[in-house]
Point group: D2
Chain length 455, copies 4
């Protein structure tokens, strides 16, 4: 019996493939699903079952794509009208040689969420593992803000799913959730990716509350809802379009790249914040590579082609995976390695001044006149921030530009470490703000050297 | 916080590397230790601690090798006089950023065996994982036959280690033992490589016994002790010789290979049983590639060079790893791909007739006169065997050739599936037996088609 | 400016990709064309031109497949009615930055064969390389037997193409033909894959003849024409079906594999001759992996699914490439690793006795009664053979079974080294011959030990 | 017979491995010699011969390293007192199965330079390839400035070596020199890496001269002689120290990195020019990764440890190779991925303003007051430069800082494309210059948009 976890960086998405003696099942596959076929081949197994724990808002499910490449059946909850696959409900069971699987309905995050328990028939009837989707995470629980008019009801449902359905499986059960730390689906997750129901029962802060406390806590929790969530939701219900192959963007010459820009191509620069600061194409949007899946959906239109700026070819392949996972399938091409050819062509490029913590501290202490723009989430901001800092979450920046001062003072953009600030800085430059500074290091550097923080 | 399991096939050995925020620790590293450096690099971490749960008999520990390539310290029990590293004892603790480790003395398998519990300080004081070495496996417990004159004492020690030290850590604790299914260190292990203390408490057959039942069970258990165990033991106490690099055997021409054979080189054929049966070099020992670590130590001398016969170059690299893990460092070279050049040189090669279950059954039913040699373990044999079959365990065959009939009847060699039988067949041919047949499929095929089995 | 050779083992096919400053061209791409995209990416180049030197008989051209994945144009001769791409003729030129290409019509192998000369504009007007397709090889020239009723005419055309078109380009020109040693398109090719027009002029035996001698030599040359040649020819004219992706065969359980066999699946065993000899599925056809592209077309039907027998998964991927290159796109699946599961299922498997040169020699000298079947080509046979050996070329064996003795004597099958003999042995066993022996080593071993050869 | 070219990027060094039927030879191996073993294994060949065409100044020869891992013999010219290997002279021959090699003394670049011709015995006595070391390149000839007091003599020797020894081998001979475009051993080399003696005879500009013209041309040629050349020379005569393994630098925490800097560690930043411009550690030296082998020897001391700054781990491995090839074996470690952890630690980092061609042009036209520092070679400068630009070659910058203006005007540093300018800018910042600007695009961008150039 084997079980492997497939991490999809960027989404902090966890999917699972397990099997026994030539048969295998996958839980919540991602759309670039070649990896499951590779793992199955390594174990000489045929993928026969695909389970979806719930509709998903933050990425496109890969089950149709994977089913197309195997002869597997897709299973999801009967409580939502998926236009493909097979409906299952509480208590349904599946057998893969010595593996016994059982469906457990665990609504709360969404109404149709299911969990799946795994029992090793060779060793008895106790389950040894459970796949919980977005119901129970390691160190946190799923968000419950998708039905705003029924917030208390769904928070209560989640509590009951955890306390009446999951925890009773036993302390010994290993927990396999659909997300790890860094996901937009919960902010308190542990960086540790291994846990058990017993450990969560004892140590997960969200589970140390009474039902009422839990509901109050969940109802007051704040999550951002990026615009692409509804696209994901819709496509996941219908079944995302089949890719068959990953798109393979071609290298574009500087001339062709510029021509495509003029015809509407959006430029996505996935290089490091430092490289973007050093030189970038005017009008490009910076999203450092590993953040593409989480942030593209806030800023990139679905109806325009995308042109990539990278340091090296490997980044193209990664960017393509990160983009198609959230439904961006029309990637026109990439500008040849880095910006070099653009630079030698004599074209204009821009630089983004960077600033370090000591200089920000000095300015604050010297009461110099400049704008501090904090693009962290409301939640992070409220835990501690710089005096006089303006807070607009990076994702909501495009719709809130009018809240920024229009004067000629420098505007220092920052977040927690200096990556979301780079995204924000690129958006501001694209919108015509001229005196933008990117604070690499941001609030973390601030804490390290003892900047003043206020309420 | 990351944690990765490194499986060493052939030994069914499991080692672990885990870390947090730039620091990492390794438990029971293998000797070809490049993989830990690679994983650490991937996590941007420096290996600072190496733990050995116990002296080992079945392979060479890689801690000295790994320490040589990092600046890590080695830690093992104070209850044995290791000639390197640092001694630890019950209750010692180590901190790697948010990871808290604690030494738990768990004697039984050996006197100096330790376990190490892992706590995530961010989430409280409960341990979330434990590394148990050869004390507690998934589905089984460690063997206790290394001190034959104190058999009951050590079995009792192991019981107490498990029930008084390990299980009290809590049902929620994830279990990380040093071996998985297929190891010579225990025969009842699950093929499943994930479990918890709670699950073992409930489902591990060895833990469903009283202390007295447990001791009786362990004392009556039978394990083979290959001759290389004492070599491993001695070298592990002293610290195995540093390899620095994996040996890189060179291709040998047919002439050079034959010349080396005449000068004493032992020929190890790691091809598949089918290929060995089809054609082989006279006098060669067959050990199918993935069985090399487990069986080389029974048959290969430590003071002679080894020459490999492979199908393709990748098998050379694997064979080298499997051999150096059990201390065979002098690998002269390999005969160029497969046997082809040997064949076209006009040299004699041998074939090994194979036989399938239906034919064996027919012969038995027809009461034909032939010898059935069962090379499975005594334990397997006793669970059910063919009428009139002789049982000599493959490992003990070289010293028991006089127990075999010297007549001219065919001798059908078999085991459970047809791999150990191929090893045995090669040994018998090398020893001059001429009418050897290899029964591919062996007892498994027998069961499938309904051969007669008796006592 | 870069130029890389892509070797397709099995076909001994050579294709080329070259380019300069962001643009690239490919000559005679194979059907699994991902490798050209990878090389182009590595050189940051876009493939803009694809050239076909001629229709091909021995494999499916990959130009349509490659064009589908780039925006390249396909070019081939105007003298044949290809149903896709663009027609070119003598003197047409193409520019890729500093590269200047010129079309040279070089009929003979086929009427529409073209060559392409390459000039580096930075260094003057002399060509530095030429792509000759199947007109001029290293150490040989293309076969001219495709228009049997105009044999002399086409041989003369080839002579003139070489002497009046190619050699006049200059001794300094590096030669890039479409095949290397081992191809079915010529038997005298050098194992060396680098040469120049000057070197060929001086050292190629076929070019040391007068025009008349050349024609006589070519007209009397003998080549086999496998049945699949006409399929290749037809599909190449129309444009082979688009694959988009390589087929990814799934692992089949023993039960499913046997069921598919009963429904008509052909079993192709690509393991080594030794492994096939040791144990094989009754009725399977053995073609050692690297020979699949050359020999599948003789024996496998195009209208039945194919099931693979392999030693390890990597062989599946290779076998798929080798099969689709000659148009076998319906590969059902593969039996899990090797024969092991078949063996343990208790099913019948067969062995193929092997024999070495010394034993054959002994039998001949002892005048024992047995049949010697030589499956080498007529040409090889005529250069020297064993007394009383029957010669039927392996490819023609299925249609000549009636020429074999039907008695009960052993039949020793051999070729030059023991690979084609394994193919032949599998075919004979499949056809019901029972006393087949495979002579691994064959005539090469024979020469090595001094067997008697006669006329 | 196989022949593969091994390119060592950065050095533009070409080495060769070729062989036949199980034996192989290597010409001018690099120090990280694992690649030759891999290629030999792929061809099932044993490396038996290693040839050095000459002592080398620009890198450490890997022959001792490679001999240590095989049983090969090393061969070099008898005209220099190498402290290892075997001396050969004009006319010595070597046989590797069908390959015949012949030593040709070709002095000029150095006195002891040899070439080696290769003949395929199966096809006659004409050579088909020649390895020319630094005597004859593709599009250029070797430099002859290593014996400045005998400049005319050695230039004449080189002419005679080419015209009396090499070209007479015949137009048909394929040329395999020791360097390609980008090497410090010659500036006129073609980017094309394939040529023949015939093509060079016709198209190499250096060979279109009379002997006198050639000598005058060579004597007046200007080459830089980096300080590390003498180190290479000395070590190559003695035999470079054995590495056994590539150094494997460990990740250093920000604290450890800074501590090591204080103790004398030199910081080498191999990231892209853009990333270095965006943020860098104060005092670090920037050498973009692929330029490390060529430029490290100008700036890095041999007696201090080196600390690396990289974007990702792969760059560490590449940087190590590039450094050990020129004798830097003490690499302490690398700062974890990019600068991120440095930034969040609150430590000071620096930015390097970048400037694009349009702005430079505007300033020149507006007659603004700023310094233009051109760090290209004297040769490049003389072919065309900006008005009032100061020219100091990047390599010679450290010893010529006193030639730069000490005023407070901005200093715009440039070269041909913006890479050497980044190296120079980092050196200037390290030396205390404060208003440095890096002109990415440099003179190439200048030409593209039509900047004024004057004498």
């Amino acid at each position: 019996m084997f079980l492997e976890t497939v991490r999809s960086e960027g989404l902090a998405h966890l999917s699972y493939i397990f099997g026994d003696n030539g048969k295998a099942a996958v839980v919540d596959p991602r759309r670039d699903c070649d990896i499951y076929l590779d793992i199955a081949s390594r174990h000489d197994a045929c993928i026969t079952h695909i389970f979806e724990t719930h509709r998903n808002e933050d990425y496109l499910i890969g089950s149709k794509e994977l089913a197309d490449k195997t002869c597997a059946q897709i299973y999801h909850s009967k409580h939502l009208d998926f236009h493909y696959g097979n409906a299952v409900s509480e208590g349904n069971t599946f057998e893969l040689e010595d593996i016994h699987l059982k469906i457990i309905e665990t609504p709360g995050h969404t109404y149709e969420s299911i969990s799946i328990s795994l029992t090793d028939k060779k060793f008895g009837k106790e389950p040894v593992a459970v796949f919980t989707g977005d119901a129970l995470f390691i160190g946190d629980v799923g968000r419950t803000d998708f039905y705003p008019d029924r917030a208390e009801e769904v928070a209560g449902l989640l509590y009951d799913s955890i306390f009446q359905k999951l925890l009773p499986l036993g302390d010994q059960v290993i927990l396999h959730p659909a997300h790890g730390a860094g996901s937009v689906c919960g902010s308190g997750m542990a960086s540790r990716e291994f846990s058990t129901l017993g450990y969560e029962r004892m140590c997960n802060p969200a589970l140390r509350k009474t039902r009422d406390e839990f509901i109050t806590y969940k109802v007051n929790e704040h999550h951002y809802k990026p615009p692409y969530f509804s696209t994901m939701h819709t496509l996941n219900l219908e079944g995302p379009p089949l890719l068959k192959n990953l798109p393979k963007p071609l290298p574009l010459s500087v001339d062709d790249f510029e021509k495509a820009m003029k015809e509407g191509m959006v430029v996505l620069d996935v290089r490091s914040p430092e490289a973007f600061a050093g030189a970038s194409i005017p009008g490009s949007i910076a999203i450092p590579l590993e953040m593409v899946s989480s942030f593209a959906g806030w800023f990139l239109p679905y109806d325009k082609p995308i042109g990539l700026v990278v340091d090296q070819y490997e980044q193209v392949e990664a960017a393509v995976r990160y983009l198609i996972r959230v439904g961006y399938d029309t990637i026109s091409g990439y500008l040849e390695k880095g910006l070099r050819k653009w630079e030698v062509s004599g074209r204009k490029y821009e630089t983004l001044p960077t600033i370090y913590a000591g200089e920000v501290k000095r300015r604050i202490q010297a009461k110099e006149d400049f704008t501090l723009l904090d693009v962290r989430s409301k939640e992070e901001f409220e835990k501690g921030h710089l005096p006089n800092a303006i807070n607009i979450y990076v994702g909501e920046l495009p719709h809130n530009l009018d809240k920024l001062p229009k004067d000629n003072r420098p505007m220092t953009v920052f977040c927690s470490t200096g990556r979301r600030s780079t995204i924000a800085a690129s958006l501001l430059k694209k919108s015509g703000f001229e005196r933008i500074e990117d604070w690499l290091g941001s609030m973390s550097a601030c804490s390290a050297i003892g900047c003043p923080t206020g309420e």
